[in-house]
């Protein structure tokens, strides 16, 4: 894979996605050992630069880097320091002076990782840019599905919720389409707008319209700050039309996978008994997240190093 950066899954060739997923499956074995570390990226510097709050994605990337023996450095750029006037480019110039090999960036603006990628020699991994993409999340979702299904061709994945503003949904839509799966989306009109027709998806409205045909149901997190605004009337209205409860799960295919990128709102988009139930693979997603991020760092930075030592 001749690739400096991972900015998104839009346009990424199938062979590269397959290579990442298969490397990730191997990387997972490192986490199952007593000594969870290989020397592949020894002496390399991976910087995480998060302009938005994140615990799980940032720690997942940092743990992935540590398991590959890279040095890690974490910048938590709160919104206040941006308010002090330093631009993204100036922040990046400062970090560049520390000679990093890779920057993992999360930023509120779509295209911010692309700007760094074309301006600097270090590798850039997009850990979420605005409402655009969150490719490592989609890769871990696809790894989770492929653990259960093997190939994704011909499978139907339902994505339910705020598809319009979800970078997780968008990266999954691009990746799943490339991998031959069919994506059906559902959600409130304000969050699942007609413009989504530009993406390779079938658009429906309520969860009842998609629950029966899906091999996997991916529930998106509802941001509570959107409730009661012009975007969404209330949590109970949402649960009534778009939430996945036990009753609805019983109308799904028996082998269906229930997925969620987390953190979940129990009782809003997903019922507690569904989140904790036998069809839920939510915690597998977390484990797979570390493996996928190890695979990414390995492909972008460390292919000359050994992977199986340790």
């Amino acid at each position: 894979m001749e690739r400096k950066d991972l900015l998104g899954l839009r346009g990424m060739p199938r062979a590269e996605i397959e290579a990442l997923i298969s490397t990730a499956a191997r990387m997972r074995q490192v986490g199952e050992r007593r000594i969870k570390k290989v020397p592949t990226l020894r002496g390399r510097l991976v910087v995480s630069l998060f302009f938005e709050n994140s615990t799980r994605t940032r720690t997942s990337f940092e743990l992935a880097a540590k398991r590959l023996s890279a040095d890690t450095l974490s910048f938590n750029v709160s919104t206040s320091s941006t308010a002090k006037g330093e631009t993204l480019m100036d922040t990046a110039r400062n970090i560049h002076a520390m000679q990093p090999d890779c920057i993992v960036i999360r930023h509120a603006s779509a295209g911010a990782p692309a700007l760094l990628a074309r301006s600097f020699p270090f590798s850039v991994i997009n850990a979420g840019d605005g409402i655009n993409e969150h490719p490592s999340q989609a890769l871990l979702d696809m790894l989770t599905m492929s653990d259960h299904w093997g190939a994704l061709d011909g499978r139907t994945v339902a994505i339910v919720g705020d598809v319009q503003h979800s970078r997780v949904a968008r990266s999954n839509i691009f990746g799943l389409a490339t991998m031959g799966a069919r994506v059906v989306v559902a959600g409130p009109g304000t969050m699942c707008r007609r413009e989504l027709a530009a993406l390779p998806v079938t658009r429906r409205h309520t969860i009842d319209e998609v629950v029966g045909e899906a091999d996997a149901i991916m529930m998106l997190r509802i941001q509570r700050e959107r409730l009661g605004k012009a975007m969404l009337p209330s949590a109970r209205e949402y649960a009534a039309f778009y939430g996945l409860d036990l009753d609805r799960l019983q109308r799904a295919r028996p082998e269906v996978l229930v997925m969620h990128p987390g953190p979940i709102n129990r009782g809003v988009e997903i019922g507690a008994e569904v989140a904790d139930g036998g069809r839920s693979v939510i915690l597998d997603q977390v484990t797979n997240g570390i493996a996928v991020r190890m695979a990414l760092l390995y492909h972008l930075l460390g292919r000359e190093g050994p992977v199986d030592e340790g």
Partner: protein
């Protein structure tokens, strides 16, 4: 070298040019262009532009007059703030004064005193009006001073939503979308108020097919209304954003619309419904060195406007009508300067001495070139 150059649709003119005979033989003189919407960096924003770079850019682009927006520092909302420089080189600098105090859309400016002091039109510098009652009053008041009111038609609330056209390109790129309805609502409102007040209105920055259609219908109806689009919007559309680079050059406001909208603008200009403006909004490099959403919207336009319009229209007469003749009619102005055109020349907006690096058309080879002005 003194040489004689034919004037489009007229006699010849004697000019002083240093070009080969081959180039000389294909030159034509046309009425100098008049920019209906120029948002200069002067005065007040030296990193964007100085008076000198503004004038040099205008001359290089064939502009004999610029209608400058009041959105400078200080805002031209009182007679004391009107530009003191009336002309420099071959370029006349005309002032559109503010319609409302501070461009705030609340209180009316002293339009009478502003007109007496030299303002030739009124404009709130592209800031949309939230309060339709104030806008109606402003039009009623302006009518009696016979001043054309320039409006950028937009619904003020929708206007601040999104950074790219709300359709396929925005969805693909994950950029927040701004709907075409923003402008369509603004145009419908402006037409209704034009009809109700009888004020002379000019709609700037048009970018949608619906706007062209509504404007055409209103003009047939006989309303005192006109409209223009930016020259670059005849060539660019949202698809140009689609290379995944999030290039801040294309961060414009209003955003580039669809390919169908672009085609409607070209048709509208060809049919004489729309005039064309340079929509010159120079930006300093540091204003563009940002992520797409945070980059300051706008693009230089004076040096590329003619070639952009000519490339899109493919017709010199239509280009001259849109950039030179209609603007004169719209602001009721006589400008005798001529621009010397080489229809077979090429314009490379990026190569313009590094002055206007933020031209959205930088990197493109455009058809036609301006050799200068002749007074």
């Amino acid at each position: 070298m003194k040489a004689s150059v034919p004037v489009l649709g007229g006699a010849a003119v004697e000019v002083d040019l240093d070009v080969s005979n081959e180039v000389l033989s294909r030159l034509v003189a046309v009425p100098a262009f008049v920019d209906l919407y120029c948002d200069p960096g002067f005065p007040g924003f030296p990193p964007r532009e100085t008076l000198d770079s503004l004038v040099v850019g205008a001359e290089a682009g064939g502009f004999g007059a610029l209608l400058c927006s009041p959105r400078v520092e200080p805002i031209v909302d009182v007679p004391e703030n009107l530009g003191r420089v009336e002309a420099r080189g071959g370029v006349r600098l005309l002032n559109a004064a503010a319609l409302t105090v501070g461009l705030g859309g609340v209180e009316l400016t002293e339009m009478g005193l502003l007109a007496r002091a030299g303002a030739v039109a009124l404009s709130d510098g592209g800031v949309p009006h939230r309060d339709t009652a104030v806008l109606r009053n402003a039009l009623e008041y302006a009518r009696e001073f016979d001043l054309t009111v320039l409006l950028r038609p937009a619904d003020a609330d929708l206007d601040i939503v999104g950074v790219a056209n709300d359709s396929a390109a925005a969805v693909r790129l994950g950029l927040r979308g701004n709907p075409a309805a923003t402008e369509e609502i603004g145009v419908a409102r402006a037409l209704a108020l034009c009809r109700a007040t009888g004020a002379t209105v000019h709609l700037t920055h048009l970018g949608t097919a619906v706007a062209v259609e509504l404007l055409d219908r209103a003009r047939r109806e006989g309303l005192p209304i006109s409209g223009s689009c930016a020259a670059r919007s005849l060539l660019l559309c949202e698809d140009d954003l689609d290379d995944g680079a999030y290039d801040a050059r294309y961060r414009l406001h209003p955003p580039l619309r669809s390919a169908a909208d672009r085609a409607a603008l070209v048709d509208g200009v060809r049919a004489g419904v729309l005039a064309v403006a340079a929509d010159h909004q120079p930006r300093a490099p540091e204003e563009k060195d940002h992520e797409f959403e945070r980059a300051v919207p706008g693009s230089a336009g004076l040096e590329s406007a003619f070639a952009a319009a000519y490339t899109a229209l493919g017709d010199l007469e239509a280009t001259v009508r849109a950039l030179a003749i209609m603007p004169r009619e719209i602001i009721g102005l006589e400008v005798k300067t001529l621009a010397i055109i080489d229809p077979l020349g090429t314009t490379l907006p990026a190569s313009a001495g590094g002055r206007h690096r933020a031209d959205a058309l930088a990197g493109r080879q455009l058809r036609g070139a301006v050799l200068g002005l002749s007074r």
